[in-house]
């Protein structure tokens, strides 16, 4: 078909036969038509109770139709599936994903304004297409530890960025745990591509954290900002240009000033490794904090008379229009599935899946370094060598998504959004990442029904694909 696209001559790729996650919904499959003997009778019954929705669509079973009738859950789903297989339902067929110049394209605009059409059509074989995962807490992996001062820092970050593509992560925030000042070198922000996932900026976890809840962080590096508040912080970190998130303990003196100053510079402030009570946490939120670092871990446990930081999930003193997000490591070890469910049910829209992966992720069991300490890996468990204190995880992002979905029984859409949309909302970048809306960056994944990543795309280019033999 001749195309005379007026806006750009860049090739347009149309991904067909896929189920796109858009507007919090996964578009349902429309199987090929098959004549089922029993269904023609079923069809008679259904259409005798004909009902028109407000849009005049004759589909009583369309869950999107406001006037749809309800039946027992099981029967409704069966009927809907059968109707769709027959194609007698007037529910619109699925949409395709259109990409041009690294962004998701609006095909209607292309059609009417530019009179253009696709240059390449790719059949996705009914995969799920979801926005790429965003990991806002990852300390390293594959033998690389971001907090270790080495000359080879850049290649270490590149290696991890490259390897996590296979886990579905298209953007990440390399995390630096409490370390001596010399370690806080510049992490540069860069776009993702075939070389690896995009770096959004650093996540600085510590050293302004509580001694009692240091977890695996080395005590001798902990600091306070009592003396010079923000200046102290700046002196420790050096430059803040490429920093996205800072985790600190809000009960520390002068934390409010620091939080306000960081928020003013567009840096996301997170509460964690802290013994703050609920009012201290709420005050921190009022000054601008928006995230909780690995909920439940390294903070006071929930108590019914003082819920502590955990209480932020249902606090009524959050400023209007703001949402508190919380990271959860859903590897089944750092949080009991029951606790995961409690948090999810209390505040589902704030849940952000993180891996908190450390250098041992992707490596065989044994001893490895994390920050200034040595840790031991045993399966999915990692402890500080010689103790039973948990220190980071070796779970991968896609494992976390699958485990989250299984443990909470939530929908596939919710699980995928917790790893893509919510982190993007936390960082304030949802206009370009974390969704498949038109004009956002074309960072997306193809997954099968069990949420295993089949292919990863960054800026519309395929950067990783599952080996057929590995399926």
């Amino acid at each position: 078909m001749p195309s005379n696209k007026s806006v750009s001559d860049a090739p347009i790729v149309q991904f067909t036969n896929c189920r796109i996650l858009r507007d919090h919904q996964l578009q349902r499959a429309r199987a090929r038509q098959r004549r089922l003997l029993a269904v023609s009778q079923l069809e008679e019954q259904l259409y005798s109770g004909r009902h028109r929705s407000a849009r005049g669509r004759r589909c009583p079973w369309d869950p999107l139709c406001p006037g749809s009738m309800s039946l027992g859950q099981g029967r409704l789903l069966l009927v809907l599936q059968m109707i769709r297989e027959l194609g007698v339902c007037n529910c619109p067929p699925r949409e395709d994903l259109w990409v041009r110049e690294g962004k998701i394209l609006n095909p209607e605009k292309l059609f009417f304004d530019e009179k253009g059409s696709a240059d390449v059509q790719l059949d996705c074989k009914d995969s799920i297409i979801a926005p790429g995962f965003i990991d806002v807490q990852i300390n390293g992996g594959f033998g690389v530890d971001f907090s270790l001062a080495t000359d080879d820092f850049k290649s270490g970050i590149d290696l991890v960025g490259q390897k996590i593509l296979s886990h579905g992560v298209t953007s990440f925030c390399p995390t630096l745990v409490t370390s001596p000042s010399s370690v806080y070198h510049q992490i540069s922000v860069r776009n993702g591509g075939a070389h690896g996932a995009g770096i959004l900026g650093a996540h600085l976890e510590g050293p302004f954290i509580s001694k009692e809840k240091k977890g695996a962080h080395p005590e001798h590096c902990l600091r306070t900002f009592e003396a010079g508040a923000f200046q102290d912080l700046l002196a420790t970190y050096g430059c803040l240009d490429c920093v996205q998130i800072v985790t600190l303990a809000p009960e520390m003196r002068r934390s409010s000033e620091v939080i306000r100053e960081l928020t003013k510079r567009g840096i996301c402030v997170s509460l964690g490794h802290s013994v703050a009570n609920l009012s201290q946490a709420e005050e921190a939120v009022q000054h601008g904090a928006t995230f909780i670092t690995h909920l439940f871990n390294a903070m006071l446990p929930f108590h019914h008379r003082d819920p502590g930081i955990v209480g932020l999930l249902t606090s009524d003193r959050i400023p209007a229009g703001r949402r508190v997000f919380y990271g959860m490591i859903s590897d089944g070890i750092h949080t009991n599935p029951a606790a995961l469910r409690i948090a999810h049910r209390a505040h589902p829209k704030g849940l952000v899946l993180v891996t908190d992966a450390m250098a041992g992720m992707g490596l065989a069991p044994g001893r490895h370094t994390l920050g200034q300490q040595v840790v031991e890996i045993d399966g999915l468990n990692t402890y500080i060598a010689g103790t039973k204190t948990l220190s980071g995880s070796v779970a991968t992002m896609d494992t976390c998504v699958r485990h989250f979905q299984e443990a909470t029984g939530c929908s596939v859409e919710t699980a995928l959004e917790a790893a893509s949309l919510h982190p993007a909302q936390l960082l304030g970048i949802e206009h370009k990442k974390g969704t498949l809306n038109y004009d956002s960056d074309a960072d997306f994944l193809m997954l099968n029904d069990s949420l295993y990543v089949q292919a990863t795309y960054i800026a519309g280019e395929e950067v990783w694909r599952q080996d057929v033999s590995g399926m």
């Binding site: 001749p2 008679e44 028109r52 005049g56 669509r57 619109p92 067929p93 292309l110 009179k115 253009g116």
Partner: protein, 311 residues
């Protein structure tokens, strides 16, 4: 009914044998009535039985002043319900632009485009509860051409459901093809479903030609098919309905055998078959009943009025 209409359109396109330089021109409606028909056509495309590569389409109407990407504009309607799922080329799609700086010039240009495409082979349309075709409201001239029309209250009320029931949000003007424009098409098919259209259908076919019920103009068109469902016949005389039902077998010849583009190689050599005689035809569609059809029906095809049943 939707399926019958879609089969009819499919047969017409396939039998026409469109190809490079030989385009099938189709006039298309919007609204709730043709939705089922569009989804069936999309299905035929997906099965490979029909291709829209050499089909040119001309839509009947569009609101004035509504942004083109507004979810209720007819551009969005056609895109979401039809164009996005088929292989039609964007240059072959013509929809009036309700935001053009000079509306009358836009209408005149549309008429020129139809002429340049060689006239419309098959114009599919619906009917309003006030008997209008496209937006040719009661009182429109029966020889009118494409122009700007102010919408009647009836139409605004009927369309309010698409604008959250808020009457102030419904556009009050629209660009529409004229009755004369549709009458120029070589063949016209009008789809009518639902009891609320029953009175309009009665006025259209059992009463005289009257510009207060503009669809009645098609009584004088040499080649029109009215496709309706049971509910739409509620205001017709029992005699009329029975007469047409008795001729069901004849009309099924229009859609059986069902041609497919997959076999287009053999079809191309055959010329277009005249299905039914030259006078106006009425076809009636009856609910969900499936009656056995005799494959070798020898009824004469010269009856002026025919009725369709089943399937």
């Amino acid at each position: 009914m939707n399926e019958w209409a879609a089969k009819y359109i499919r047969n017409r396109i396939v039998q026409f044998g469109p190809g490079p330089g030989r385009f099938f021109t189709l006039g298309l409606p919007t609204g709730s009535t043709p939705l089922g028909c569009y989804s069936k056509l999309v299905e035929y495309y997906r099965n490979g039985d029909l291709s829209f590569k050499y089909v040119k389409t001309f839509n009947m109407d569009e609101y004035v002043g509504l942004p083109r990407d507004h979810p209720e504009s007819y551009h969005s309607f056609m895109w979401n319900n039809f164009f996005k799922h088929i292989d039609i080329s964007p240059e072959n799609v013509h929809i009036l632009d309700g935001n053009a700086p000079d509306l009358q010039a836009e209408c005149d240009a549309f008429e020129e485009k139809i002429k340049a495409a060689g006239g419309i082979e098959l114009f599919v349309g619906g009917i309003g509860p006030d008997g209008h075709i496209a937006f040719n409201e009661p009182g429109s001239s029966l020889v009118s051409r494409t122009r700007v029309k102010t919408l009647a209250m009836d139409t605004i009320l009927a369309n309010a459901r698409f604008f959250d029931g808020d009457l102030s949000k419904v556009p009050t003007m629209a660009l529409t093809v004229g009755v004369g424009t549709v009458m120029d098409a070589r063949e016209v098919m009008i789809l009518i479903t639902g009891a609320h259209k029953a009175f309009a259908l009665y006025k259209a076919i059992e009463d005289g030609v009257n510009h207060m019920w503009t669809v009645s103009a098609f009584q004088q068109h040499p080649n029109t098919v009215f496709v309706c469902d049971e509910d739409a016949t509620l205001e017709l005389k029992v005699k009329t309905v029975k007469y047409f039902k008795g001729l069901m077998l004849v009309h099924n010849k229009l859609v059986e055998p069902l041609y497919s583009m997959k076999e287009m190689g053999t079809e191309r050599s055959q010329s277009k078959k005249p299905y039914i005689s030259q006078t106006t035809l009425y076809a009636l569609w009856k609910g969900q009943e499936r009656l056995p059809l005799s494959p070798s029906c020898d009824l004469p095809v010269t009856c002026p009025l025919a009725l369709l049943q089943g399937n």
